[in-house]
């Protein structure tokens, strides 16, 4: 690609060109070593572990047991609950994030005084450690002196006050709300950047043709955002489906499995239940579901970019 023009001096030039060729490999070698050694190898090892009865107590002595872990898992009612929760959470979070992200992007793109402040602070929620977000939400929903309950009492709605995270009905919506809180601004800013790239004369022409705001949004904005929407969807299907921290740190999966998702279920099986092989099988099922979801989304993206 960038190879300098070959010089006339033969043996020196040959050595130089060899060194030049291998130089590129040396540059990428450390990165590949880290990725292959610490990401790919453990994943393959994890798939192999899922066919064994490996235990945390004596990891060295594992026996191949075929598909036993898988058949046990699929019959486990808690696993089924966690699987349903994971799919529900991922679906609801991503759909709501796209909708709210579009609305917020539409607000952020308006040319009103002070809008730069709103744009610049938007992504703050995304960069905070998840443990900090969890502390904030736990603290704001505390039964006795959390902001929400104090406000409800001050408004005379004290009977609505409750221990939000300890309430079986409210724990799952709260986990969903924490995901929205963290991610909606990221969508909004990404969508806003894509909206700003749409040529203004498209809107001008539409206005001359008498198209209203809604019409312009449906026929110009949305079609131009299809690609970034799908990118964000693929990213966040992965993030949300794999997310362990929000649920584990806020509710630990409780009350009574009301918020258990696959990552927390698998984590508890491995590190509290010592069942490494069994937990790995759960992880492999997650991997398969994710690959299917991502392939479906990827197909959409390919179809769109060919248009």
């Amino acid at each position: 690609m960038s190879a300098a023009p070959p010089s006339g001096k033969s043996s020196l030039a040959l050595w130089q060109s060899l060194a030049r060729k291998s130089f590129g490999y040396w540059l990428i070698f450390p990165t590949l070593a880290v990725i292959l050694g610490l990401d790919l190898y453990p994943t393959i090892q994890g798939i192999l572990t899922s066919f064994t009865n490996q235990s945390l107590i004596d990891p060295g002595h594992a026996v191949y047991i075929g598909l036993d872990n898988y058949s046990k898992l699929l019959k486990d009612p808690v696993f089924q609950v966690a699987l349903v929760h994971s799919l529900e959470l991922t679906f609801l979070a991503v759909v709501l994030q796209v909708l709210l992200g579009l609305i917020m992007a539409h607000l952020l793109i308006q040319n009103v005084p002070g809008i730069h402040f709103f744009r610049s602070v938007a992504m703050i929620t995304w960069v905070l450690p998840i443990i900090a977000s969890v502390v904030m939400f736990r603290f704001i929903t505390l039964p006795n002196y959390g902001f929400i309950n104090i406000l409800l009492k001050d408004l005379g709605l004290g009977r609505l006050a409750r221990n939000w995270f300890g309430d079986e009905k409210w724990a799952f919506p709260l986990v969903l709300i924490m995901h929205l809180w963290r991610n909606v601004p990221f969508y909004a800013i990404a969508f806003m950047a894509a909206m700003q790239a749409i040529p203004a004369d498209l809107y001008e022409a539409a206005r001359i043709d008498g198209a209203g705001d809604w019409r312009q949004f449906w026929s110009i904005t949305l079609p131009n955002l299809r690609y970034i929407i799908l990118v964000m969807v693929v990213l966040h299907v992965t993030f949300t489906f794999n997310n362990f921290d929000f649920v584990f740190l806020s509710t630990g999966g409780g009350p009574v499995n009301a918020t258990d998702v696959l990552p927390t279920y698998i984590y508890k099986q491995a590190w509290n239940g010592y069942a490494l092989g069994y937990a790995s099988a759960g992880g492999v099922i997650m991997l398969v579901i994710l690959v299917v979801l991502v392939l479906v989304c990827n197909k959409f993206i390919k179809g769109l970019s060919e248009q």
Partner: protein
């Protein structure tokens, strides 16, 4: 873009207020509470009196057992991960962007795939691997672990940035006698600085916030980081929310400062990795 009419403007501000109330309220309540004394926090009033404001929570937080160690560990690990990711990632991206490699597409795919692997699955063999290497409960082990999480994305993002820099720049430098590593450090680094900063910020945020890997690979106070510390606070200090909130504010300050520096570049950087 045309200036909106006043009524329209009011609607826009109302919409923005709803979003930002939701986004900023939990942060504001946390920060406010971290400066209230414990009677004030438990008073059941929204706003404290002036006399109830205090720095006591912060002073007390740093007195608790290992809080200072957590802060130091978090800093050491997150900064090392940041530097290592940017350094290795830029070497790899330089290679992918400027050199004719066999199997370049396979390298790119191999680097992208781990983004989709469930961390809870990776963690199991990871623990066995790390204990075989005697890296459990060491800073080096955690730095390597976090780097393996951040490097794939950094590699993709930086390759995108380097590809956008005209090749003529390196060629001119090579003709002037610059070495090939010199091209990276003297020509590409300055031009791609925004990309390097975003990649560094991303790595910092991932490492600083990681709970999952640290919870397994760190087994003593020697290596535990702030997320573990705060989780321990939450379960062991139960009613002392003044201390918990102060500790949490300490944990978010570095990310907020770093964020305010990079925020203008952040989104283009993050989505560049995804789009290219």
């Amino acid at each position: 873009m045309r200036r909106p009419f006043p009524i329209r403007r009011i609607v826009i501000y109302c919409g923005l207020s709803i979003f930002y109330l939701f986004l900023l309220l939990p942060i504001a309540w946390l920060i406010l509470s971290s400066f209230r004394n414990s009677d004030s926090v438990q008073s059941g009033r929204l706003l404290p009196a002036w006399s109830e404001l205090t720095l006591q929570n912060y002073l007390a937080t740093f007195q608790i057992g290992n809080f200072t160690t957590y802060v130091v560990n978090s800093c050491v690990i997150a900064f090392s991960v940041m530097l290592l990711t940017v350094f290795l990632g830029s070497l790899g991206a330089y290679s992918l962007s400027r050199f004719a490699l066999r199997g370049k597409k396979i390298f790119m795919m191999a680097a992208l795939l781990p983004q989709f692997f469930p961390y809870v699955l990776i963690l199991i063999p990871f623990y066995v691997l790390m204990s075989n290497l005697n890296l459990v409960d060491t800073h080096v082990g955690l730095i390597l672990t976090h780097t393996s999480l951040t490097l794939p994305f950094a590699l993709w993002m930086l390759t995108g940035y380097f590809n956008a820099i005209p090749m003529e720049l390196d060629q001119a430098a090579l003709i002037d006698g610059c070495s090939r590593l010199g091209v990276l450090f003297r020509i590409l680094y300055p031009v791609a600085l925004p990309g390097l900063v975003v990649a560094g910020f991303f790595s910092f945020v991932v490492s600083w916030g990681d709970y999952l890997f640290v919870s397994i690979l760190s087994q003593s106070n020697e290596t535990q980081t702030l997320p573990i510390g705060l989780q321990t606070f939450m379960t062991s200090l139960r009613v002392q929310w003044g201390l918990i909130t102060a500790g949490t504010v300490v944990a978010i300050v570095p990310t907020v400062i770093f964020f305010s520096i990079v925020q203008r570049r952040l989104v283009s950087g993050l989505t560049a990795g995804a789009v290219k």
